[in-house]
Symmetry: C2
Subunit: 143 residues, 2 copies
DNA sequence: TTTTATTGTAATGTCAAGCATTACATCTAA
DNA sequence: TTAGATGTAATGCTTGACATTACAATAAAA
């Protein structure tokens, strides 16, 4: 099991828009060439990012622009925008037997810990902004 | 996307073995009745848990026993035993374009943060032992 | 106003994973 | 030797991810 690549594609997409904004028309074709996926995949990604209020897309004329401060976009925001995970991260088996003492209580006991683990993951993503990622890009290029 | 229910099934399985050990013959059929899945699913789970050195299964005569201190089995150990996640949790798009500055560096920049998030999840699971879960069961039953 | 490039979106196909289930060879204890 | 289990292969179903084709709607430029 893996978390869908829509997430890393979306981050990549935002960075391409940021870096080429003003210099190139950042169409779905242009972005797709950098990410190396089908342009339709990028268009769907753009739709999600637009829905999350991060970008503006120009239908017809083409291109996208970032309309939110990169300091205020975290990896978690992107992760949410593309709906990597549908509610609970862990899939709990549906119908434990309520006439068994273990089956009866396992949900309430385990749920807390699963939620904690999921929160740990998401908080980690919340701790990283795109502004920070951009900085790291500069550092990486300098190296 | 969700992490496979093999994980919660495995935890449930271990708890059933623990609670009924000595009182009932904990066969795959018996456990399956509590978890409410097909017995073959339980047999495969038992294989994984046996492989991880947590239980002993009696082929032929039937039944399973825990052979490791519950204080030394964490949720992370179970999660690993049933192979919920194959290596990296996040699926990175495979071939970013190396002739684009973004495509060239995105892997190295992003990987660190993805690994951090995954580690946060796993460390959270590492912090909970089955012994603790059993205690919480008692508390839950008393309430 | 027509053309042209682009987005928005539906439809389709392929592939892999998860889970359920049947079937049966193998094993062990009574 | 028999009865009840496990170990394991095989099969089918369903779902989700991803790729791709196609085309209507849109907007800017000619």
């Amino acid at each position: 099991m893996k978390i869908t690549s829509r997430f890393t594609v979306a981050v990549h997409t935002l960075l391409v828009i940021y870096y080429f904004s003003g210099k190139e028309k950042t169409t779905s074709d242009f972005i797709a060439a950098s990410v190396n996926v089908n342009p339709v995949v990028i268009r769907r990604t753009l739709l999600s990012l637009k829905g999350a209020g991060m970008i503006e897309v120009k239908a017809g004329s083409g291109g996208a622009d970032i309309v939110k401060d990169l300091k205020e976009i975290t990896l978690y925001d992107v992760y949410r925008a593309v709906e990597c995970v549908d509610g609970d991260l862990f899939h709990f088996h549906e119908n434990p037997n309520p006439s068994c003492p273990v089956g009866r209580s396992i949900h309430s006991v385990l749920d807390v810990h699963l939620a904690d683990a999921q929160a740990a993951l998401e908080n980690s993503l919340r701790g990283v902004t795109l502004a920070q990622i951009v900085q790291e890009f500069e550092a990486h290029r300098g190296a």
